[in-house]
Symmetry: C2
Subunit: 591 residues, 2 copies
């Protein structure tokens, strides 16, 4: 099945939940207008459908392979990547100063959804390069920026993030990779990194590794970690490529999914040490890394949306074609299964959850944009805080949704869903990495509860809740019969989220373990409430346009009446269930 | 990781939720006692750990393969199967008249959990044979029974179920395989069946296919389907094996999981037609098939429990060993991740959901036993009705849980969970078939709502609700501080299930589409309520033993306070959400 970019759905979110027209009117987006954004999306959609989508299953069946230190990507990958950069897609989000088009995050993320829906394994390569660009922009010296950014932005070179080591996954304090200062101001890097996405491949002329390592006299823990740029090939002063650096791919992982994307073991300094350049200050490497990781976390959330969209399209197409069973309207012959109530329920759930997480991600992207583009420092700070609040929700909620929707997609296919050739199973396998990498969803929940809720002494969350409440009031006032119980269900959800948030605030001071015990459920409640409200904004927009019977209204109603109904129960789980989590001694679990 | 049979957990369910002591006292189980049952379980556990479990990952990596019509199972499979039958495990549930040990369903299902946890792909072979035995017992002539049952019971021969055809999956009305009557009273079968588990292999001397097909003059639809026995080798009058029958394996599916189990395309009658023998009456084949499918549905539910148990053991072992992060108690060094609140939440959820679905399955098994063993016809009928009511819940709820627990298992492993060598990913892939085969979980929900709730004009369900209410009252009266809010949460769940059941009853008369729209959510609500109550029975038993701080209490409390909390929201989704499911025209979904 060929993927079709859901341009209407994306534009609908941008216009309703994100408030695109207002943002354009307020001149945040230079000379961009909605028509241009739609045109970009359609063009990206064509590239996704015609070039990337056909390679998706190919990449699954013929994974990236390692031979003598060289990684070969799946057939067609290289040609597609050259086309991708030649068409200027790499440069779309890059800073204009270094040859990029400087398009805002909302456009970058919308287009990123298209790449990743068309081909999740392929989409990871530009995603990681984008992360490296962000870290360099944030912490690199002028020389580093001038040397590396233009070619990373154009996509001629690609970038990687080297954090994880066997003993240091979620806990970066355990990093052991060493960096030894040299007389010429460079460093020599020694150590092994694992789970390095696109750590080695033949798509680009050079690969720029951003590597966390420790200086000899660094303090222990996370305050003794520095960030280094380690190019695969040393770059000469004239910009040409020099010697091969002492960094090699020594292994590829055999994974459940995203087979096309090479997940590398990278060995630094098997000989004299890999030459590295410090990015940012010594021992402050995590600061740059976190700037980059926040952007990457949103991008991974968008991957969740992407795989959900792809799985939904696949399932809808199958359900329209596959005939089984009768319907009350048609007792004489088998009907397409899309007519059965339970199949409709599943497809609507897929549609609604996809669109809700898309809205959360694009609203988060807007806040990133405003944090750079708003007129006053105060507004920029406010937007940055809002972006910080929403990022863990965008990442974790959307990637959980990605897995759930992909699983529903398998179910819609029945027995055929379990057969690899059908394609539904690939989304189910591919999606499963998303709640894990770029910080597990458990880590996201901890981040949300322990770092983000306390922002501005709770005022950031309070303001957000007030905004959700306003949406609910508008829905209630609009009072369209097509809205059903939307206002009531969302009001209950916002109340539930408010109560759980207050409880969280109290626990953080009194008994943080209780807050942690409820963190994941709280994040789910947050996502459901926010997602439901954003879809309701979409329904309000449709009602204003006089299209109350349109899919956006039906989907918003479905979400409110079928999914947001869980919100009060989730709040109860958070606020009254922590003793149940913490009561049993962990040792008793293995008995 | 080696699997260890959870004998204590199984015995706990048998003693509390199932009421084993009472059943033994009332003489339902002949001379069986609890100690004997435990000894059987321990012996089965040893076989599972030592013989089947080590082959589980082998079967995943080296799938069954087809060469020239012959299927070779994974390395070690054949030896294991010979040991399995030699040790008498095949014969354990079989009828004594034909050489079986005639052990009750509760023992058979508990032992079946062990085989399937140790090796899901292997466990399918005896599971299907058991189904064939059931169909033959129900509908076979004396000659057929005497010819085939002894060797199927001993496991010398194995059995298959041939229902699905490319155009006839969930809807058996579409079956096209033909059966042509012969002058000698046999039939010739022509057609192609797909998704035939263990349709061909080298484990047994003969394979006995039970095949749905149509007679030439059969009425259309499901009332024109007959059941035939088609042996791979014709059996001579003296019991020896004669000619190869005209049935061949012409393809193997390439699947997401259960790679060890061969899923065959079976072609009947490429030459003169496969010789078949009628089982039961002409055109009444589905009657026998449904007897067999009900038993098989429970067995598939048990597979859900099995894979959940296995995934849980794997995750607990990893969480005890893997060190990342600090704890409030230990800031100096990395602690085993099992000490982190969110990991504990996940592991407890895995434990609690596994034990809850185990209880539902074993209670259902008890009802099957009572339907055969109770003293009066009235009691037997009552038990049969209860078994019929619970079967779709046992199948669908437990297999959904199997997938959810396996997914949590991947998550507990973090990045390692996505690497195939770790093993967690295999459970995630293997489990995914369970909500699909033996009737998709959507079909189970329709069965529950449209056929089971109306049983006895609703009295069967009413009596069941009364029983759940009694459990809640006992929990409430017991009033142990260790129970937390267990009674309150379960009371809310039973109330929610009661309301949703009443609503379902009304809709079935007025607007069946509305009932169908809520069927899956209703089944989930049913499972959560029943599971929570059975775990509470376990907690009550522990309290009576004076072990209120034991895992069974903690797990029951966790289920009530963390999972049963969703019940009121689910009821609301069922009773007030159907318009949202049915409102949008299906065609609008593809736009």
């Amino acid at each position: 099945m060929t993927y079709q970019a859901p341009v209407d759905d994306i534009m609908h979110v941008l216009k309703s939940a994100v408030g695109l027209d207002d943002l354009i009117e307020r001149n945040f987006y230079d000379d961009l207008d909605a028509d241009t954004i739609r045109a970009i999306m359609e063009e990206a959609g064509r590239f996704g459908s015609e070039v990337l989508s056909p390679l998706n299953s190919e990449g699954d069946h013929k994974p990236s392979a390692l031979n003598g230190g060289k990684v070969t990507t799946p057939p067609g990958w290289n040609e597609a990547y050259q086309q991708f950069t030649a068409a200027g897609w790499s440069a779309l989000p890059g800073p204009q100063q270094y040859g990029g088009q400087g398009l805002p995050e909302i456009v970058s993320m919308a287009v990123s959804e298209i790449w990743n829906a068309a081909n999740l394994s392929f989409g990871l390569c530009p995603l990681l390069t984008q992360g490296a660009i962000g870290a360099l922009e944030a912490g690199g010296s002028d020389v580093l920026k001038e040397t590396y950014l233009p070619k990373l932005v154009s996509g001629e070179w690609t970038g990687t993030m080297n954090l994880t080591e066997p003993q240091a996954g979620s806990d970066l304090a355990g990093i052991k990779t060493r960096a030894v200062p040299q007389d010429d101001g460079t460093y020599r890097i020694f150590g092994t990194k694992i789970f390095i996405t696109y750590g080695e491949h033949e798509l680009s002329g050079n690969i720029i590794h951003l590597v966390l390592a420790r200086l000899p006299d660094a303090p222990p823990g996370t305050r003794g970690i520095s960030l280094f740029l380690v190019p695969k090939f040393i770059v000469n002063d004239d910009g040409s490529l020099g010697e091969r650096n002492d960094v090699t791919c020594t292994g590829l992982e055999h994974k459940l999914g995203i087979h096309g994307s090479p997940t590398c073991v990278m060995t630094f300094g098997e000989q004299d040490g890999a030459i590295g350049f410090l990015v940012g200050d010594e021992n402050r490497g995590l600061n740059c890394m976190f700037i980059m990781m926040n952007a990457a976390r949103l991008a991974v959330g968008v991957q969740g949306v992407a795989v959900a969209e792809r799985a939904t399209q696949h399932a809808v197409a199958y359900a329209e074609e596959r005939r089984q069973g009768r319907s009350p309207q048609n007792r004489d012959e088998m009907v397409p299964i899309i007519q059965h109530a339970d199949i409709r329920r599943m497809l609507l759930a897929m549609k609604a959850m996809t669109q809700a997480s898309r809205a959360i991600c694009l609203v988060t992207a807007r806040e990133f944009d405003l944090s750079n583009r708003a007129a006053t420092p105060e507004e920029r700070e406010q937007a940055a805080a809002r972006a910080a609040l929403l990022t863990p929700v965008a990442k974790a909620f959307s990637t959980d949704i990605g897995c759930e929707v992909a699983s529903l997609g398998v179910q819609v296919h029945g027995g055929m869903g379990f057969i690899e050739e059908t394609g539904a199973a690939q989304y189910y396998r591919d999606a499963r990495i998303l709640p894990i990498y770029e910080g597990t969803n458990g880590i996201q929940a901890i981040d949300l509860v322990t770092r983000k809720l306390p922002l501005g002494e709770g005022r950031v969350m309070k303001a957000y809740l007030a905004e959700l409440k306003q949406i609910v009031e508008a829905v209630s006032a609009s009072n369209q019969p097509e809205f059903g119980a939307m206002a009531k269900r969302l009001e209950e959800a916002v109340t539930a989220l408010t109560e759980a948030s207050i409880w969280m605030g109290e626990q953080l001071g009194q008994d943080p373990q209780k807050a942690l015990a409820g963190a994941t459920t709280y994040l789910r409640l947050f996502g459901i409430t926010a997602g439901g409200c954003y879809l309701a904004k979409g329904a309000l927009a449709a009602a204003r346009d006089g299209t109350q019977s349109s899919p956006p209204v039906a989907i918003a109603r479905f979400f409110a009446e079928q999914i947001a109904t869980t919100a009060p129960g989730l709040a109860l789980t958070v606020t009254a269930g922590s003793d149940a989590v913490l009561g049993l001694e962990p040792t008793a679990l293995s008995a």
